[in-house]
Amino acid sequence: MTTTVYVPRDAAALSVGADAVAAAITREAALAGRAVRVVRNGSRGMLWLETLVEVVTEAGRIGYGPVTAEAVPSLIANGMLDGGDHELRVGVVEELPWFRAQNRLCFARVGVTDPLSPEDYRAHGGLTGLRRALEIGPAATVAEVTDSGLRGRGGAGFPAGIKWKTVADTPGELKFVCCNADEGDSGTFADRMLIEGDPFCLIEGMTIAAFAVGATEGYIYIRSEYPEAVRTFRRAIDIAYAQGWLGDDVLGSGLRFDLMVRVGAGAYICGEETSMLESLEGKRGVVRAKPPIPAITGLFGKPTVVNNVLTLASVPAILADGGAAYQALGVQRSRGTQVFQLAGNIARGGVFETAFGISLRDLVEEHGGGTLSGRPVRAVQVGGPLGAYLPASGLDLAMDYEAFAEAGAMLGHGGIVVFDDTVDMASMARFAFSFCAEESCGKCTPCRVGAVRGVEVIDRIVGGEDVDDNLALLGDLCELMTDGSLCAMGGLTPNPVRSALQHFADDFTPRRVTP
């Protein structure tokens, strides 16, 4: 009898030796005379357990982790292939508290299936959403998405249905669907994991969007820092064409939709939708002023849907189960689930998909297990490099768009980066400016020049130079960048700065000038 063993092919798993683990299992099983089938799945998202090896048993998929290649002989010797006991054995994966506490919609198949197996995809509910969309027609599809309350997962949280309706209502023979997979925020990796772990879901979501708005071409813009995601998605597209899920006659419905991968080239700003469009057009990734909005004048001047990976990946489920089911999840105007990502100095980092409304403390302390270093949590940055730093005392915040907005913070793409008490928050504030200086597109003055001056002003403050005047200047600069910048890059850079000043003022007191 052949034993099925799952070894993730997700980049995070690969980064800690998953390929070597898979090879070792094949080798050692053969030596032990055991027939095994190694399936390369996506990651379950419990990244502290990577490489998480799962063995299929009658009791379920038993997990072992973190597994290294070196540990494989001992694992096999100890009966791993039969679910045997071992210090790395974590039990039935889906029964782990961390796992059970989630509500996986977007990530329902991630880590469960072979991402490039169309059979797996179908067997796990794939294509149901698309088929239903094709059945109910474009207008009803848009309505379903509108009714679901789905909001853009890229950070701005704009209702997806309204955007789609605008594109659908704008006349044009050529329209585009663009998936923004330029996931550049530190502390976020859910897009990557979905692309690598369930690419067909995204393809299905984009196809539904295309059908809904009347687009015939789609582009997914994946950052070049994600070579594994690029490879996986390209293969998935090839398979989808072969399956008739893409091309001239999608699922025999007569729908034409072509999908292309485009790779970024090292520019954080291309995660901003208009600069992403510029980049897709083969230009410098410089931000466009709005209006006109991309839904009307988008890629190559044509009506264009631009949505984030998780937004589009939520769509198949919304169509399959109906907008109302999705709407039933979440709180207030934050409907459905959010894929939180626990990162940085955290004991149990990974993705955690759940309905909006969970508290930050629950995520960081209960599920994340506190810091990796074991030291006290001092600060948590939510929403990427443009998100605010929250002090350990402020972790009782509910994770929803409005609650965060009220607290002067933002949920962004759901990334949560934890710092322990060794962090110097003045240097993190300085980093916010220097990151902006490094990654600003250079178009608008507050961002282009302001970021550089911000670094200099913080240096002067911590250097003890005219501290009060410079603090006032820093305040004015933050105000100018917030109110005056062309896009969110410059506009939000003051978030981490101001929050650091507000919550960690002591770190800004004069000290020795760092050489």
């Binding site: 002023a289 990654e439 600003s440 608008c444 003055t445 507050p446 020049v449 004015d476 005056g484 062309l486």
Partner: protein, 943 residues
């Protein structure tokens, strides 16, 4: 006037016909929908601070100075990128906005040199202005932070400097290069704080920059600054005038400091150019004050005598008495005059009047004879008026643009920029030209079809187009039925198989399928416009081709509205005007035949002299008659016939045979070698009058300086007439225009006062069209019904043979102008130091010619030598050269063939042989050889 600063509304005007009303700082203002908040504010007299916005460019939204508050909207949107909405309430001045704007300026100044007092832009710097406008009082960041102050200055361009340390990264130059000029030679390099303007990583001179000046114009600081301003200082007064180079007729602000011309700046309200310019008009005006200019009249008895400077009185009375002597001895018809397309309408008018009224004959012609005379003939025959049908603006409404025998990016660059803008917006392009001109494929522009025809086969191609239209049912039946005549006969002719694309393929070398596709595109476009140049007219069938294009336009209904038409791209600044003014021997002003008794009677009444009812001699006929001995005296106004007219040997023989040759010009040109009287002329900077451009637009030419010669050209002519016993007692050129208006129905509404009021006027301008006529033939053709004229293709007699196996065709290049008399006397020489022979690599290879080799170019009539450049722009079998340098003698080899109807020379088709020169000559040798051979070699085409 003092220095003219045009208002800048910040963003381009909206063309919407719907209006919306908004309130800016409590002031209600009604503007077209789509107008920016910034422009709406400016319209109501409120200037919102701005640096990256200017109304010649699309809004960009980068400087963030123009932030405003809008009731009901979050934040502080940029007023340049925010369109107005009905009922919107905008506040442009609040404490919050003031603080933000000061904050922006503080950032700018923290990375800017603090040298305002010694900066060349001091007083004309928007950064300086904005610092004041926002009330910047301190820069709290200090000046010690990261900056760009040590970036090096690029002085490589001869006309302007690039000083990146002063750059504020507003991208106005980059956008101007793309949006306005369409060259895309500039970019922003790097990103973030390191973003800086760059000519593609090269120096300006090594880059793709064509030196049009749009970037300099757009720059709000001293970063891109004219060298002349750096050297001479800021100008203090403005004179509005018109460029004297090509037929586009750009309006310029001549900016002076005292009486010194500092710079020429394109005028935003100029109808032809709308604020754009090219390297010639913008920068190449130095010839006007070049030391080579002759400033005193000179005479001599024999052409072998040395010149003798004399007073104006002596020069004029000498001329008059010799003219009268000749007429006494050889008859009234033994003298004549040639008018110049470089001179004003008023100057031209008085010369033809001199000839008709004082000389008493019709022996007047103009240099248009050798360029666009077929246009006059062909469009008169078919449409009824010897002029193009559209204004330049019309190209913005074209869906398909057909360019035939023209190279607008070099020859008519400012119009080309407008055309390219339309092409970038999506209009389709068909190029019909033997050579792959830049328009066929250049950044962001690509022709749908390039019909690379054999030189001399235009008519076959246009007939094949028409054949497709007629036989494939693409005729606009309604238009033809209601607006035209002669259709049936023409359609029967054109439908004959000999005109089919398949048959003409072997003649033209253009695949039949290409012609069919292009013809269908033209016929089904919606709005299809034809633009053409000398590649149409300078052929043995030049006039036929013009009529062929007119037929095609009528058959498809592409006449009489915006975006269509048949449009000549005129060569010289005043070709249209000189023709309008009655310069042709068979026509009085306004294209009315001398045989028309009624017309003659009107002129005779005003002029007080009788006018001959029979045509006079055309230029080539004058030469023939001179050699025959019946034509012996010639007044030549500003045309170098010895250099520019065909068959130089014949021309020089004719000039030598004459008893009196009077030359009026800026420089001692080739013709003056055969002259007895030299009357120094004035440059356009001294003239007072009008030029008429290719779109029939009459523009004022205003004097920037007093005549360096002490006398206006029109006055010279009047004094000569007086000396001949005929009074032309004008005291000012405006009186000349008044007379033109009184005598010419199409000019009835034109006067200097009207021009000052309206800016410019496109004739016809009269009771029916008091402000002029941008588009002609709108409801009916000038001749009533448009007339189809069968245009049978007759091959030129110029054929290739074993001995002369290649065809030579000619053209011009952007930086130089015609025979180069002006541009060679400016720094433009840097771009084109010599004419070269472009030859296909295959043709070069079989002759053992490598790139850069010196080669001889020989035709049946002459030979010259020049450097070869291998180029796949040429089809195999065709070679090409420009004619800007007399040393090249490019036209020594061209033949005496001409257009059958107008005698316009067939410059564009010459059978030649090209061979490697045995011993390459160095430059010094070449110069010597030139001097010896000058009369035979220095012959070039005027257009």
């Amino acid at each position: 006037m003092t220095i003219l600063k045009e208002p800048d509304f910040g963003t381009p005007a909206s063309t919407s016909s719907t209006s919306v009303t908004v309130e800016v700082d409590g002031i209600p203002v009604t503007v077209p929908e789509g107008t920016s908040v910034m422009r709406a504010a400016a319209t109501s007299g409120i200037d919102i601070p701005k640096l990256c916005a200017t109304d010649s460019l699309e809004p960009f939204g980068s400087c963030r100075l123009c932030l405003v508050e809008i009731d009901g909207r979050r934040g502080t949107p940029a007023s340049c990128t925010t369109p107005v909405a009905d009922g919107m309430k905008v506040r442009t001045q609040t404490p919050r906005l003031e603080k933000l704007r000061q904050g922006v300026m503080e950032l700018y100044i923290s990375d800017h040199p603090l040298d305002c007092l010694t900066c060349s832009a001091n007083g004309d710097c928007e950064l300086q202005d904005m610092s004041g406008a926002v009330g910047l009082r301190q820069v709290r960041y200090g000046y010690e932070g990261e900056n760009h102050l040590s970036l090096e200055k690029d002085t490589s361009n001869p006309y302007f400097d690039f000083e990146p340390s002063k750059c504020i990264s507003c991208s106005r130059c980059v956008r101007a290069c793309g949006e306005t000029q369409g060259t895309f030679a500039l970019t922003i390099e790097g990103r973030g704080f390191e973003s800086k303007v760059s000519p593609g990583g090269l120096s300006f001179m090594d880059s793709e920059c064509v030196s049009c000046g749009a970037c300099v114009q757009a720059c709000p600081t001293a970063t891109l600054q004219e060298k002349s301003v750096v050297q001479l200082g800021m100008p203090s007064r403005t004179v509005l005038t018109t460029c004297a180079y090509c037929g586009v007729g750009c309006s310029f602000k001549a900016e002076l400091r005292g009486d010194e011309l500092v710079r020429m700046v394109p005028y935003k309200d100029g109808g032809a150019n709308e604020g754009h310019s090219c390297v010639k008009g913008r920068f190449a005006f130095g010839y006007a004050t070049h030391p080579d200019r002759v400033l005193s009249p000179m005479i001599r008895e024999k052409i072998t005598d040395p010149w003798r400077e004399v007073s104006w009185e002596e020069a004029i009375s000498y001329t008059a008495s010799r003219m009268r002597e000749i007429q006494a001895g050889h008859g009234v018809g033994s003298i004549g005059g040639i008018t110049s397309s470089r001179c004003t309408n008023e100057e031209v008018y008085v010369v033809q009047k001199l000839v008709r009224a004082a000389f008493g004959n019709n022996n007047v012609d103009t240099c248009a004879r050798v360029c666009h005379s077929p246009t006059g003939y062909g469009l008169k025959q078919t449409f009824g008026e010897s002029a193009g049908t559209q204004d330049f603006r019309s190209v913005a409404a074209a869906d398909v643009i057909v360019v035939i025998g023209a190279n607008p990016t070099d020859g008519h660059p400012v119009f080309a920029s407008r055309m390219k803008r339309r092409l970038r917006e999506g209009a389709k392009l068909v190029v019909i030209d033997p050579r792959r001109i830049d328009l066929v494929r250049s950044p962001h522009v690509e022709a749908t079809h390039h019909l690379q025809l054999q030189p001399g086969t235009n008519v076959a191609v246009v007939n094949a187009f028409a054949h497709v239209v007629v036989t494939e049912g693409l005729v606009d039946e309604a238009f033809v039925a209601s607006r035209c005549e002669g259709y049936e006969e023409w359609a029967a002719f054109i439908a004959q198989p000999e005109n089919s694309p398949e048959v003409v393929e072997s003649i033209t070398g253009v695949p039949a399928a290409e012609i069919r596709a292009a013809a269908r595109l033209y016929a089904t476009a919606g709005n299809a416009a034809i633009y053409y140049g000398l590649g149409v007219t300078e052929h043995s069938q030049g006039s036929t081709m013009v009529m062929g294009m007119a037929n095609l336009a009528m058959a498809t209904g592409n006449v009489g509205r915006d975006g269509v038409g048949v449009n000549p791209l005129r060569g010289q600044n005043n070709v249209q005007g000189s023709c309008d003014m009655g310069s042709f021997p068979h026509e009085l002003p306004g294209y009315r035949h001398v045989s028309d008794d009624a017309v003659r009677t009107v002129f005779e009444g005003v002029w007080g002299r009788s006018i001959l009812p029979t045509p006079g001699l055309r230029i080539p006929n004058m030469f023939d008659s001179a050699i025959a001995g019946t034509f012996r005296g010639l007044f030549v106004q500003g045309e170098d016939i010895a250099q520019s007219d065909p068959n130089t040997a014949h021309v020089t023989a004719a000039l030598t045979a004459m008893d009196l040759v009077v030359v009026q010009d800026l420089f001692l040109n080739e013709t003056s070698k055969f002259a007895h009287v030299f009357l120094p002329g004035t440059s356009f900077l001294e003239k007072d009058g009008t030029f008429t451009n290719a779109e029939r637009r009459i523009n004022r030419v205003r004097p920037v300086m007093a005549p360096k010669t002490g006398k206006h050209e029109w006055r010279i002519v009047c004094e000569l007439a007086a000396a001949l016993g005929y009074d032309m007692p004008y005291t000012h050129p405006r009186e000349i225009m008044d007379e033109i208006a009184a005598l010419t129905p199409t000019f009835a509404g034109v006067s200097f006062a009207a021009l000052d009021r309206l800016g410019s006027i496109q004739w016809p301008c009269n009771e029916n069209a008091p402000t002029g006529t941008p588009t002609m033939h709108v409801d009916s053709f000038v001749r009533g019904k448009g007339k189809f004229v069968p245009t049978s293709f007759v091959p030129t007699s110029e054929r290739t043979t074993r001995k002369f196996p290649l065809i030579l065709t000619t053209g011009r290049i952007l930086s130089q102008y015609n025979v180069g008399a002006q541009t060679r006397r400016t720094a433009n020489i840097a771009w084109h130091p010599e004419d070269v022979l472009e030859i296909h690599p295959h043709d070069a290879d079989v002759r053992g010619i490598s790139d850069g080799d010196s080669v001889t170019l020989a035709s049946r009539v002459g030979a010259t030598s020049l450097r070869a450049v291998l180029s796949d722009r040429m089809p195999v079998g065709v070679v090409y050269t420009t004619f800007h340098h007399p040393v090249t003698g490019a036209n020594v080899v061209t033949t005496e063939n001409s257009d059958w109807a107008t005698n316009c020379p067939e410059y564009k088709v010459t059978a030649v042989q090209v061979a490697l020169r045995a011993q390459p000559v160095d430059a010094a040798d070449a110069t010597e050889a030139t001097d010896e051979l000058a009369p035979a070699r220095e012959r070039a085409v005027i257009d």
